[in-house]
């Protein structure tokens, strides 16, 4: 039986935004029983037009949510009045509305900090009802509300998916890093198919690595990314010679290959060939034989598990190497499940 957990929903939430003139705006949302009142109520002292705009934005953005709940009224307020031309607070209003209803949980900035840092967001949109937004949430640049959990924009012609992996750097600075894969179809579709019809695997493998770019990485890391993706696509069977890909990392300076599983999963999701998790994918694992779909173990089990347990949110999917299964701390899986996440220890990618 699956569990749907909207756990420990707060009654108040805050989201900050830096205005164009440099002031810090705080949008506070609170939740109370609806009791036949309007679903969203906005108050901004002395600026009814901005309050009206805020209500409109929040209502439109709610159309991109799956779960409709008419039981609560959300009251939003601003502490200072932004200029009428400034629209970058819109994303903060949407996020405050989501946090207070438990739809979105902001990541804690530093896992060692005891109190969660208030989310900070800048961004605006002309198509809130489609979830499109051009904004930044806590240093994470998003083009779509679903990108908060790494999902692809369903109306964009470039499929971009993020996956997260634990970055171990001596305890206090451990964070979840992300890797982002964007794929778009190769335009000249006739030529590569004809060309590689005879010698698909030999020729396409070479071509494949040239279509993968990883800007910002040093050369050896780029090479590793290309080999990993080409190998995993070879395993997939229907992936070679169709895509032009760009790989980006949130933090390009790191060592080790434990990001590989996250990279491969993001790639499979971006190409529309994997089941989609409700939340983020958090994965760690590498392989010496991606072309066979194998997942090998990686180092740093204890700190990574600890970090994952701290950072995981409802709906997230945690993927670990099979070798870790017997060495998980007692209660780890149960605790993850209580937080609404699910766990799998795998020795190969793909269906079951």
């Amino acid at each position: 039986m699956t569990t749907l957990s909207i756990s420990a929903t707060p009654t108040n939430a805050e989201c900050r935004s830096i205005l164009a003139d440099g002031r810090l705006l705080t949008i506070t949302a609170s939740r109370r029983p609806r009791a036949n009142r309007a679903d969203v109520k906005c108050t901004v002292l002395g600026a009814p037009a901005i309050a009206e705009r805020m209500q409109e934005v929040v209502r439109l953005a709610r159309h991109t949510e799956v779960r409709f709940d008419s039981r609560d009224q959300v009251v939003l307020s601003m502490d200072i009045v932004p200029a009428t031309t400034d629209r970058d607070w819109e994303l903060a209003a949407v996020l405050a509305d989501r946090i207070v209803r438990g739809v979105f949980q902001p990541a804690t900035a530093a896992p060692s900090a005891s109190t969660p840092v208030a989310a900070q967001a800048q961004g605006s949109s002309d198509a809130w009802h489609l979830g499109r937004v051009n904004g930044i949430v806590n240093d994470l640049r998003i083009s779509h509300l679903g990108a908060l959990t790494g999902h692809a924009d369903p109306s964009s012609s470039v499929s971009t998916v993020r996956a997260w992996f634990p970055l171990h750097s001596g305890g206090i600075n451990d964070t979840l890093g992300w890797v982002e894969v964007s794929v778009f179809p190769i335009e000249s579709d006739a030529a590569p198919i004809d060309q590689s019809a005879n010698a698909t695997h030999v020729a396409a493998g070479v071509i494949e690595e040239d279509t993968i770019a990883a800007p910002g990485l040093d050369l050896s890391a780029q090479q590793e990314v290309r080999l990993t993706l080409a190998g995993a696509r070879h395993f997939d069977g229907k992936a070679l010679g169709r895509w032009r890909s760009v790989v980006r990392f949130g933090q390009p300076r790191f060592q080790g290959g434990s990001y590989q599983l996250a990279l491969v999963m993001a790639d499979r999701l971006a190409r529309g060939r994997e089941f989609v998790p409700r939340g983020r994918i958090i994965a760690t694992g590498c392989s010496s034989a991606w072309h066979a779909g194998r997942v090998d173990t990686v180092e740093g089990r204890e700190p990574k598990l600890e970090l994952i347990l701290k950072q995981v949110n409802a709906g997230d999917r945690v993927l670990l190497p099979k070798a870790w299964q017997d060495e998980l701390p007692p209660g780890f899986a149960t605790e993850l499940r209580q937080k609404g996440a699910s766990l799998a220890c795998i020795d190969r990618i793909g269906m079951i």
Binding site: T2, T64, F68, R71, G131, R273, F275, I346
Partner: protein, 410 residues
């Protein structure tokens, strides 16, 4: 006299029954094929199944004929992963003697139009499945383990039986890469975006002079549009660009021209008008709410007073909602001899669709309650509370001729 009537009526087209056609409506005098089963609904909606053959019914009775199958349909569980699917094979079972009303008969009576095509049915099932997965009622995560797959299968089987009355025979994950090309879909999206942009430019040039209140008009139109596809969110936004019929069994996977352009679809109506949608939704609520209450009443409850009380309260609320539906005022009238503006009629029919979405969620909740172990009941009853609240909100707004006074924002 009957003789002449019969001669004049063209024979009903029953080709494809059992393959691409699940059920169809027959009239007096038609001959049902031998493998089919005939269901006759009397004027009060009570069904009786009779053997196939020449249909004879009385005045006011509705006759359906269905083929038990098996049928195979490909489903895409996640709109954003169109190359990874599930192949579902299902049958329509013989009547279960332990229940007074077969769920499939209820489905036929309440939802089927003249013909129940396999493709349309598959699309409905797919939408329901995507909704369940997005809400977390079913789980099909990447790298599914065997236990997770079994849990998913159990939930899916129960959902299909509780919601549609069909029995899942087999369900396997399939690679749909042969029929669906995600790269083509992305290319089609890029093309549409370009077209929409050029159209928007043309529009902007044309209407540059008439500047009156364009942003608000756009916003309300957008709100209307997304409210018509009721509350289905990221998947809904996801459903829009991916052609819904791209995976039907007809084997015509490339239908990018049918995709509504994302930017400018507010004027796109479904095949039905608002009034028809409203009537259809109210009919479904009228027929299905009592049946749903009956099923909920017959569940085996875990021990304990709090759950019993919540269950009783739930049944009471559903009963009240049912009464609310039975006495619903007409769509087009604000009061006797006072017609309602078309704008308000649209608003009313949207609110009916909210209630209808709650009804669908209630059926899937019933499926989950069938499978739930005792410690899951409180959580599911909380979900039931939400669904009832949505149902009541939708119905009360449907009843009101005008939107009630909203609070001032200051």
């Amino acid at each position: 006299m009957r003789f002449f009537n019969r001669r004049r009526k063209p024979a009903t087209d029953i080709s494809g029954l059992g393959v691409s056609l699940i059920a169809l409506r027959l009239d007096e005098g038609d001959v049902a094929p031998a493998q089919g089963t005939v269901v006759i609904f009397n004027a009060a909606g009570h069904a009786r199944r009779v053997a196939a053959g020449r249909v004879s019914c009385e005045q006011g009775e509705t006759v359906f004929c269905f083929h038990p199958g098996p049928y195979t349909v490909d489903l895409i569980p996640f709109a954003s992963a169109p190359e990874w699917g599930l192949r579902l094979r299902f049958v329509i079972d013989a009547a279960n003697p332990r229940v007074t009303q077969q769920r499939f008969d209820l489905f036929l009576y309440s939802e089927a139009a003249e013909r129940l095509e396999l493709a349309g049915f598959g699309a409905a099932v797919e939408a329901a499945l995507q909704m369940e997965l997005a809400q977390g009622a079913l789980d099909l995560p990447p790298c599914t383990s065997l236990e997770e797959w079994h849990a998913f299968r159990a939930g899916l089987n129960q959902l299909m039986y509780t919601r549609y009355g069909v029995v899942v025979d087999d369900c396997v994950p399939v690679d749909l890469g042969e029929q669906i090309d995600f790269a083509q879909i992305l290319k089609a999206r890029a093309q549409q975006a370009a077209e929409a942009e050029s159209l928007a430019d043309a529009d902007a040039a044309a209407t540059a002079t008439a500047t009156a209140a364009i942003p608000t008009a756009n916003a309300t139109a957008a709100a209307t549009f997304s409210a018509t596809a009721p509350r289905s969110a990221e998947p809904s936004a996801a459903v829009a660009p991916v052609p819904a019929d791209i995976h039907t069994l007809s084997g015509a996977p490339s239908a990018p021209s049918t995709v509504p352009p994302p930017g400018r679809s507010p004027s796109v109506r479904g095949p039905q008008s608002a009034a028809q949608q409203d009537a259809h939704a109210l009919r479904r609520l009228f027929i299905e709410l009592p049946a749903l209450s009956t099923e909920l009443r017959s569940l085996t409850l875990p021990n304990g007073l709090p759950i019993f009380q919540q269950h009783q309260a739930l049944l009471l609320r559903l009963g009240m909602a049912s009464l609310n539906v039975n006495t619903m005022p007409a769509l087009a009238w604000a009061a006797p001899e006072v017609p309602l503006e078309p704008q308000e009629q649209l608003r009313r029919s949207r609110d009916t669709l909210t209630a209808l979405a709650a009804l669908d969620e209630a059926w899937s909740l019933l499926a989950r309650l069938h499978l739930a172990s005792h410690q899951h009941w409180p959580m599911l009853l909380e979900e039931a509370d939400r669904i009832c609240a949505n149902l009541e909100t939708g119905l009360s707004l449907r009843r009101a001729p005008h939107v009630p006074r909203t609070e001032p924002s200051l």
